[in-house]
Symmetry: none
Subunit: 204 residues, 4 copies
DNA sequence: GATGAATGAGCTTTCATTCAT
DNA sequence: TATGAATGAAAGCTCATTCAT
């Protein structure tokens, strides 16, 4: 039988939960708006104003959720990397042959960015321009851990499947190169698309 | 026997040549300064002011040579691509075995950017962010032609050496992927460096 | 014999007292935090956010106690002036010689601010910058009354001790001047400190 | 007989002079506007926008002349201190009696600020709030030198007139105290005005 | 009474570019 | 051509205050 205290704390918890949920929803709204603007305008091109406008709020309303533009950008990347992690994990788990798990992971990696060219561009800022932007060490570290996590996942499968570490490095590099070239139209001069070439490489 | 008219035109030509030379020198000064600033600060981070300061002139003095920041940026990239073209050509010509000319070209491509990590970053803006930057179609076209030129060079050798087009695509993609990963520290987790991995790939 | 009504009202009074006490405590907490922040950051430099953070509450929690930043600032000054009044009164009452009570009061005035350089700076905003701050006439009046109270106290002693009104004016001015100069390092060029100079002046 | 080179350099000099003059005039315009706004709104209250509006230009047009708000504020104070220096010097030179030169200087000091209550308020920011504002050490040093210059001037006369250093300290403190009290209405409770009280003090 | 997200205006400063000189 | 002041818009961010919860 619940006493007064329990009733009270239950009420508080419920209220807290609702508040947390609302906060999460608002946060999501902003992150989504930010992704749209960042992918359309780039990191420097995107302005807090336009992000706010897209999110349907004022600039000031962003700051309770993110301390600044950088952190917001970081959140966008993190979300994408989380999805990437999920996709790669799923692909690996779905693949029954231990020998082919690594390949499946690489293909999932490729598919993820191939289907989201904008996310690739977003990620390339990290790959090429981060230091210039001055993303603090802290945020940079967070992202690094996530990227490494995905790579480690694949490498683990490769090792289990009897592949050498350099195979993994080469496979991911190949994958990355095809993505970059595909994204920038350099592949259109040949007849085969990126995924076909990647499969050929992995069959080697 | 030179008549008066000829003498006159000779004098004019000489003056013109001197003027052209001066103009070229000034232009070069600005492009070099721009490269330094662009590589240090990134495309958006670089300001015309700082480029001018680095070049030892005032902001206004840049505009007679370049219509704006974009064109200046384009000139920097063009110069780099010209050098890349030269390096690849040299490597191909130096290589005596017809079968290995293509590989030599790819390695030269790799070496060029591996030794100039900043130029790679600069180029990646083109690869990933062009539209965002708002580089006009015209300037974009100019750069495309130059990039294609280098790729065609390698592909020609590959075909002559009995390689399939998809070999070329894969080789360049692999090269590009290794560069990107090397530049962003993703390769440091393995023991082998980018060039070694590329050589392994080409020996396949 | 207490009737029901009395019992009731007693209970209400007790509850009311407790509430009042709590309210006073909260208020004090905020004023103290405000003084710390105001003295450290200045009037404009201090933000309601940082005051709230220092007080251990949120911005909104300040407003039930103070209608705004100005009123909070005013409360800080008032508290300081109350302490000043107490110190001066004590000094006057402690001094046995009627002729020297005024001097004792002036010295207490000096000591108060000399030991609290930050409070002097705080007060100088009032002395010099009130209108700029936009402190309403009402708040300004409250502070004026308090400042005048202290001065009247001293002047009363001076008159009782046979001093002319202009003596009082001069003494307080001298005291004030020494404080300002001491606080801003102008006195450090001479060998004597502010208090010594004030004593010399009062011995005149 | 002037040769071509001389003619040329003369022309250049003339143009340069005109440009310098124009620059000085524009600068003056901005400083004057800044003084107006600073005295009316205070250091924090004044915005670059309002200063620019008062000066009849855009915000950006201020920055070629001053690197920021602080430097502009510093320029305003410097100008005032220069005028103060001139006034004090004149008063000292005009006074024929060596014994009374110091007093003349102090009176000139008083008159300067008594006639310009706003400049006093401006100066008091320096006296009380500078550190909070974060005026760099460099700018602070410049102002300090100028203030010290005026004080040294008076002290030199005092010594020449047989006054002790502590006399100078006391005189300036008295002067300062009367100014502050007069400016804030504390003197209006007595019948005598600040200058009269200062004269009384100096006759002592 | 307390919370903290939201507002909307405000801030200083920087920018690419233009143009009179 | 070169200068560098001027423009006008825009940037990221902070502010005191309000108000639904």
């Amino acid at each position: 039988m619940p006493d007064l205290h329990d009733q009270e704390s239950t009420k508080v918890d419920a209220r807290q939960m609702r508040a947390d949920h609302l906060r999460g929803a608002r946060r999501s709204l902003i992150v989504n708006a930010a992704r749209d603007v960042f992918t359309k305008e780039g990191l420097d091109g995107a302005s807090m104003r336009s992000i706010a406008r897209t999110a349907g709020c004022t600039t000031g309303a962003i700051y309770p959720y993110f301390h600044g533009k950088e952190e917001l950008y970081c959140a966008v990347l993190q979300e994408a990397l989380e999805q990437l992690h999920i996709n790669v994990t799923e692909a690996i788990e779905t693949c029954l042959s231990i020998e082919e798990k690594a390949q499946a992971g690489v293909l999932a990696f490729f598919d993820f960015y191939n289907e989201r060219p904008d996310e690739l561009a977003l990620g390339l800022y990290v790959f090429s321009g981060l230091k210039r932007v001055g993303l603090g060490r802290e945020l940079d570290g967070v992202l690094n851990v996530q990227v490494s996590g995905v790579i480690d996942l694949i490498e683990g499968c490769a090792r289990a499947g009897g592949r050498s570490p350099e195979w993994t490095a080469g496979a991911i590099a190949h994958c990355m190169g095809l993505l970059v070239m595909g994204h920038t139209g350099r592949l259109s001069h040949w007849d085969y698309d990126g995924r076909y070439l990647l499969e050929q490489f992995l069959l080697r």
